[in-house]
């Protein structure tokens, strides 16, 4: 395996092949170009002397498509076919490869990969095109305006040559400050549903390399024995039984005493040796709560005065308006802890080079996190730390821990060795389920008052749960006036025109380690909002679609218009209201991560003997769909992820210890759970917005609304399977 972790690495590889054109950005954001000998920056695009074009992808690929989408932007602007562009993952460099929406921080999350790369990668491609064209103009003695590049061929009149011919000359030119971007009418790849993923073949034939597949010469496999409940401290261990395991090497208490690292020659030996290890724990500071206690704390908070009056409403007046209303609809919701459970159990590998540099092989979602943590742990300057980003077997948020949890754990397991052997840290599924970070439990209490005409006169919405952001490095940016926006997003910023809305938030005490989970706060806020919309419409005697549209009717408000448009499209495509006997439909629509998604779930059966999800119809507006088929795939996946968890899953705690341990008791969505999903994309000229997460929020409330339509019962607590609903 070649390691291209630094600029030097890139350029060395590049120089060997001859002249190379590199286009990227300087730290101040200005476009820069150079040949490999002179480059002082990390590029977005690299063109080798033989004309091979490589997109340097700054976002990691966990299935959501940047390894296809970012190369598409460059290929489009240069004028290439998708077969003429390769991709490589960027090294860790938060000055150049930062997420433009995260500041000087390289990372993927919040469905931002396309939104923050859209202009940047197109500009790099457009600059490369202009430079190649200018080089051709000089060489041919013709005017640049008469030169085009199509399918990798530079053309002017009867002259034509592959781009390879002009790479060396182009590399001597200055990058244009503002290259002309193609007009959408010129797009051949962007928005083209026939463009295929670049990583399909290797993922179907076993060649794709994930971090789990790293085998460095002489590596050891490390597993960590952790306490039953978080916060236990390892005092010592007895490894006499581990010594019976062939391949066992040694064990060591981690420097932070959070566990004991067990080292072995291979994974199976590590699993057995860890099982055999006896550890002496100090559990006096460990977490001790039961899930029931978490639940009662949340429920109590919903009934008390909220800590934060989120939208600075006159709570007393809203409450009084509801008390005096003709009808009041009231519902309390509870959402349990959830695990992310990406398919590839967490792992990463660390090695030290002969020069004393540290190299991390990782499906790195936020390379800047481990990059900063490693400077401390290894006492090294940033340029001595290299992160080799591998394909990631899913994440759903789990790999984006603000404290770089598993990478730090690997580093701690490595520093206590003599560093002569690389250390591969491997988690099992049990580690993933039991030692994880969780979607926090949340509760909502919503009271809505209606007047005699069925109009909303007040909407009082109390939210309580453990903040994801507080206590992390993101607090300064994402918490305002004490309010963690991610706890209330989807309610306070809902595009619905709701008169008399009062949103209150109370943070509940730390119960366990919590983390953003695919679509973050929208996982629970969309459920509360969209099932309430149905209940309130019903109380008002109005059709749920018409009722929603009536609150999205401001023609001067694009937010409302776009939300209304996806709702209408979903209604049309789903055949809303036209279901065969024995079937029921439910609908939900929600805005998240800048995108709008409406979903109709159609079910058969009944809640007692088993419900079957026959079809989910989705309409999405995510601005320009760079790759429409990837957008569809993300909606399909987001719907499955949302529905799978509310059907059957929860994490519960007994005395601080997680009760579940593996897929048999944290059951994934299975192929038979949803018979069909049909996705439609609203055509748009707006800049691209998120697709990785927006499919998830409406899926569960649409299912709940369908069950409500069928049975009259609105399930307000999850998982559904433990709250009165059985699934066929």
């Amino acid at each position: 395996m070649t390691i291209n972790t630094s600029r030097r690495g890139f350029l060395k590889g590049a120089a060997a092949a001859g002249a190379v054109l590199l286009v990227g950005a300087r730290p101040d954001g200005a476009l820069a170009a150079a040949s490999s000998e002179t480059a002082q920056f990390n590029p977005f695009v690299k063109i080798d002397a033989d004309g091979t074009v490589t997109a340097i992808v700054k976002h990691f690929e966990k299935g959501q498509g940047p390894a296809t989408g970012l190369p598409t932007l460059i290929a489009e602007e240069i004028g290439l076919t998708m077969d003429q562009i390769e991709y490589e993952f960027a090294p860790s460099d938060p000055n150049v490869y930062n997420n433009l929406l995260f500041g000087p921080f390289q990372g993927t999350g919040g469905s931002t990969a396309m939104a923050n790369s859209w202009l940047q990668y197109r500009q790099a491609g457009a600059a490369a095109r202009e430079m190649l064209i200018n080089a051709a103009a000089q060489s041919w003695g013709v005017d640049a305006s008469g030169i085009t590049i199509e399918e990798g061929i530079v053309k002017a009149g009867d002259k034509s040559a592959p781009i390879a011919e002009f790479v060396a000359a182009a590399a001597q030119l200055e990058a244009p400050a503002e290259p002309r971007l193609k007009d959408p009418s010129e797009f051949r790849l962007i928005g083209n549903a026939a463009v295929r993923r670049k990583d399909s073949a290797i993922k179907g034939n076993g060649q794709a390399m994930y971090a789990m597949d790293v085998h460095l010469p002489n590596q050891m496999v490390a597993m960590i024995k952790r306490p039953e409940s978080k916060g236990g401290i390892a005092l010592g261990f007895d490894d006499s039984a581990s010594k019976e395991v062939k391949g066992y090497i040694s064990a060591a208490v981690l420097p932070n005493q959070a566990g004991v690292a067990v080292y072995a020659e291979n994974t199976w030996a590590a699993i057995q040796a860890r099982d055999a290890l006896a550890v002496d724990w100090d559990m006096s500071g460990a977490e001790t709560r039961d899930s029931d206690q978490i639940r009662s704390e949340i429920m109590a908070a919903l009934d008390a005065e909220p800590t934060y009056n989120v939208n600075k409403a006159d709570i007393g007046a809203v409450s009084a308006a509801i008390d005096g209303a003709d009808k009041v609809v009231e519902k309390t919701f509870y959402f349990p802890l959830l695990a992310h459970a990406p398919m590839e159990p967490l792992n990463c590998t660390i090695e030290q080079t002969a020069e004393g540099d540290i190299v991390l092989h990782d499906g790195a979602q936020m390379p800047t996190g481990p990059h900063m943590a490693y400077q401390q742990i290894f006492q090294l300057p940033p340029e001595k730390i290299h992160i080799k980003t591998m394909l990631a077997g899913g994440s759903f948020g789990r790999r984006a821990t603000p404290d770089a949890d598993y990478q730090v754990e690997a580093a701690l397991a490595f520093v206590v060795t003599d560093r002569s052997r690389p250390v591969k840290l491997v988690w099992t599924r049990e580690d993933d389920i039991r030692s994880g970070y969780y979607r926090p439990a949340f509760g909502h209490k919503v009271r809505v008052g209606l007047d005699t005409d069925g109009n909303i006169v007040g909407w009082q919405h109390q939210i309580a749960g453990q903040s994801v952001i507080k206590g992390t490095a993101f607090e300064a940016v994402l918490v305002h006036d004490g309010v963690d926006h991610s706890s209330v997003e989807g309610v306070t910023d809902s595009p619905y025109a709701i008169p008399g809305m009062a949103v209150g938030l109370t943070d509940t005490p730390k119960a366990t380690t919590v983390l953003w989970w695919r679509s973050v706060g929208h996982t629970h806020t969309a459920y509360a909002m969209e099932t309430m919309m149905d209940l309130v419409a019903e109380a008002a005697g109005r059709d749920p679609v018409e009722f929603r549209l009536a609150h999205l009717s401001d023609s001067t408000n694009p937010d409302q218009q776009r939300k209304a448009a996806v709702l209408k499209l979903a209604v049309e495509k789903a055949g809303w209201g036209n279901v065969p006997t024995g079937r029921s439909q439910g609908i939900a629509v929600h805005k998240s991560f800048g995108s709008y998604a409406a979903e109709v779930v159609e079910i058969s059966g009944d809640p007692e003997n088993g419900i079957k999800i026959e079809k989910v119809t989705c309409a999405v507006d995510c601005g320009i769909a760079v790759n429409p088929d990837v957008v569809k795939a993300q909606m399909e996946g987001g719907i499955g992820y949302g529905i799978g968890h509310v059907m059957r899953d929860q994490i519960t705690l007994t005395s601080g210890a997680v009760d579940q341990s593996n897929f048999p008791d944290y059951e994934p969505l299975r192929i038979s759970d949803i018979a069909a999903i049909d996705v439609h994309i609203v055509p748009s000229a707006e800049a691209p917005t998120g697709v990785g997460e927006p499919g998830t929020p409406p899926s569960a409330p649409a299912l709940a609304n369908a069950i409500h339509a069928m049975s009259g019962v609105l399930v307000a607590e999850h998982p559904m399977a433990e709250n009165g609903v059985s699934f066929a």
């Binding site: 690929e61 966990k62 299935g63 959501q64 295929r196 993923r197 990583d199 399909s200 073949a201 290797i202 993922k203 179907g204 034939n205 076993g206 060649q207 794709a208 390399m209 789990m212 597949d213 085998h215 062939k246 291979n266 994974t267 199976w268 699993i271 459970a341 990406p342 398919m343 590839e344 159990p345 394909l391 990631a392 077997g393 899913g394 099992t428 599924r429 088929d629 990837v630 795939a633 993300q634 399909e636 996946g637 987001g638 719907i639 499955g640 992820y641 799978g644 593996n662 897929f663 048999p664 994934p668 969505l669 299975r670 192929i671 038979s672 759970d673 949803i674 018979a675 069909a676 999903i677």
Partner: protein
């Protein structure tokens, strides 16, 4: 103990203790990393390989029980026409997302089409039930199996 494995048409001698799951011999000893570890308890299918043409979960198949069997992994399943058709269909439909489960999905799909060349949607759901995909690519897996069946029919 030292034993001989017949894997992907070749004979390998490996050194492994009885009770070692075939999965770890394939991944750690033979360094064939296409076969994945997802759960270790036969409930996700990521580790699926063929034993004499039949899909099995290699995380729950012990090394001492497979000495006489022909083992096929994802790296070689495409040499056969059913495997090639499934892989072609997977690319045509862009079935994969993160891809981590997909070696196992392909191995199970080949197993299904080997015994049932034209499965219905229900038959696919029943056969593929044990292959979890956390990215929820199921819709395309179903379509992929049907597309592979068409390719084979042509």
């Amino acid at each position: 103990m030292s034993l001989t494995l017949k894997l992907n048409g070749q004979t390998h001698s490996v050194d492994a203790e009885p009770g070692t799951p075939l999965l770890w011999v394939i991944r750690d000893e033979l360094k064939l990393t296409g076969t994945k570890f997802g759960c270790g308890v036969a409930s996700c299918g990521a580790c699926t390989v063929h034993l004499n043409g039949e899909p099995v979960r290699s995380c729950q198949t012990y090394i001492e029980d497979v000495e006489d069997a022909e083992i096929t992994t994802i790296e070689a399943v495409g040499d056969d026409k059913i495997g090639a058709a499934v892989q072609q269909a997977w690319v045509e439909l862009d079935v994969v997302q993160c891809g981590y489960c997909q070696s196992g999905q392909v191995m199970s799909a080949v197993g299904l089409l080997s015994e049932n060349p034209k499965p219905s949607a229900e038959e696919i759901d029943e056969y593929m039930y044990g292959n979890a995909c956390r990215c929820a690519t199921y819709q395309r897996i179903r379509a992929g199996v049907q597309r592979a069946s068409e390719i084979l029919e042509a």
